[in-house]
Amino acid sequence: MIGFGSVRWIKIAILCAILAVLPFVVDATLGRAWVRIIDVALLFVMLALGLNIVVGFAGLLDLGYIAFFAVGAYAYALLASPQFGIHGSFLLLLPLGALVAAVFGVVLGAPTLKLRGDYLAIVTLGFGEIIRIFLNNLNRPVNITNGPQGITLIDPLQFAGISLSKTYTLGPLTFAPVHNYYFVFLLCAAAAIFLSLRLENSRIGRAWIAIREDELAASAMGINTRNVKLLAFAMGATFGGIAGGLFASFQGFISPESFTLLDSIMVLCMVVLGGMGNVGGVVLGALLLTALPEALRYIGPLQQQWLGRVFIDPSDLRMLLFGLALALMMLFRPAGLWPSRIRQRELVPEIPIAGR
């Protein structure tokens, strides 16, 4: 699989060079807002890769994935903001957020793992909403989450006197906060991609795929299906938790409104659209679907111009498209835009479909 041909290294070097200059080129051509969009896209790459472990590798449908993102974000925000007057280091808080998210993942997955996967879907769906109810209401009698107002003034990532929320100049280059975060997020996303690729071909990854394909056969082959499924859940939640911490530090402000069902659906859409189980496809899906709302933004004024008034709000249109995409993808291209080879074999039925 991994060759050490020099061509491969040259390709990697070129890719790194492109990614290194990308924010500056985008900044100069499209404007700083687009650098920010790329930052968010990288966060979603991490999130989608985390969900891909659960849905793509292990074949368990998680409909409340954003809850782990929320847990990570709040873990960071509470311990690095004036909310409690604690200002922890991110070196400690990011792993902590990941750990807390993983614990939530295990606690949530445990009751359903003996049952059919459908139950997991509904439990996670419920959990995604419940966590928001708690975040919204835990401002009384003791103010923990500050309720619907959310937590503000969250510390940026800072290390050895360098704060990512400050602007630095290095020769001709200006490193605005969005640039700083770009490089951190790029590093994290690259780590997530690398981890996902390595996991896929590892003993655990193969166990996940075996469970996805046929749980009974997998357990007959000596796989402890319960533990391996829990591990998938914990691992997916970990990705979400870390992405959440990064999100909190990047935004400086979080509120329960950032973690709704629709966000869970969006991440699921990224995984499904790109190609469940295929790391490249998932990354593609995440990038595409982060850019989509920006493209849809032009729809509002266009309607105004052509039809005289705004008939459909761009954000509603986005959700309509997501719903349509989920259903249509499953009907016509179940393995995604960029399918994984094994997954394609599984999701495209060999038996001719009855009842047409």
Binding site: A110, E129, I265, M319, L320, G323, A325, L326, I353
Partner: protein, 307 residues
């Protein structure tokens, strides 16, 4: 004590609505083994259609009962059509596909319905015009309105009719046969495709009536109302034993009572730390509890159906 009786009455009422919605989940799950996520949203569409009809007739001289009957019929027609279209378009092609595919399709259809409704009816809460002026009765210390009494009795009548239908009618027998084994039922001459479509239609029509009841009960409708309602109804179905029709009824009533009592007393028990704003949490706790302790539900049969 009065509060207890009142909460019990409220719970029974709410529970009877949950039970009706839960029937839609449990019948489809029993036959196809599919969680039809879109069912809650079908109920929502029914509720909003009924509201629109009531608004259209609000100024007319027609008696209230006639308006409500027209509204219910309109909601039923729309919901049954929706249910059949969804079954035909989204689920039937995936009947032999791996389990994950119809689940993802179902959630997609659910989102699609929600935002189509937002497009048609807008995102604000739609209040029910005050055409119904119910009488109030005192019942063992609890107050109950005539509307509420009517909702409860109608729900019970529908459930009784459904039980009879599934047990005694030819179609009901075909439904039970398909549930036990679709392939063998097909060999015995049951048109399983038709039976499945019929089940969707039946679930949707009961859902439509439940939607009208929700509107009457809460006095308002909203494009997102199907989500929590669906989640709770599914919990009710699991509590009773999914796939089991009497189970869904029992589960619905129990869940309504649990929710009502819990949210009524949580403030007292926790010294005001938690309030009734946590009411939606209880259904979820019940769901997790049932899945951990007795996944087959109260009336379900333990099955070896795992993977």
């Amino acid at each position: 004590m009065d509060i207890f009786v009142q909460q019990l009455v409220n719970g029974l009422l709410l529970g009877s609505i949950y039970a009706l919605v839960a029937l839609g989940y449990t019948m489809v799950y029993g036959i196809l083994g599919l969680i039809n996520f879109a069912h809650g949203d079908i109920v929502m569409v029914g509720a909003l259609v009924a509201l629109s009809v009531v608004y259209a007739f609000a100024g007319s001289a027609l008696p209230v009962a006639v308006v409500l009957i027209i509204a219910t019929m309109a909601a039923t027609v729309v919901c049954v059509a929706l249910g059949l279209i969804i079954e035909r378009g989204a689920y039937r092609p995936l009947r032999r596909a791996p389990r994950l595919a119809p689940l993802i399709t179902a959630i997609g259809v659910s989102i699609l319905l929600q935002y189509s409704a937002a497009l048609v009816w807008g995102k604000q809460y739609i209040a029910m015009p005050e055409i119904v002026k119910p009488a109030r009765y005192e019942l063992a210390g609890a107050t109950i309105t005539s509307t509420q009494a009517f909702i409860f009795m109608l729900a019970c009548a529908i459930m009784a009719a459904l039980l009879w239908f599934v047990k005694a009618s030819r179609m009901g027998r075909a439904m039970r046969a398909t549930e036990q084994n679709p392939d063998v039922a097909g060999l015995m001459g049951v048109d399983t495709t038709r039976v499945i479509a019929f089940t969707f239609g039946l679930g949707a029509s009961i859902g439509a009536i439940a939607g009208v009841m929700v509107v009457l009960y809460y006095g308002q409708g909203h494009y997102f109302m199907g989500f929590m309602l669906g989640l709770k109804a599914f919990t009710a179905a699991v509590l009773g034993g999914i796939g089991n029709i009497p189970g869904a009824m029992l589960g619905g009533l129990l869940l309504g009572i649990i929710e009502s009592l819990a949210s009524g007393y949580i403030g007292d028990f926790t010294g005001g730390v938690f309030g009734s704003n946590y009411r939606d949490v209880f259904a979820f706790l019940v769901l997790v509890g049932v899945l951990m302790l007795r996944p087959s539900g109260l009336m379900g049969v333990r099955s070896g159906d795992r993977a």
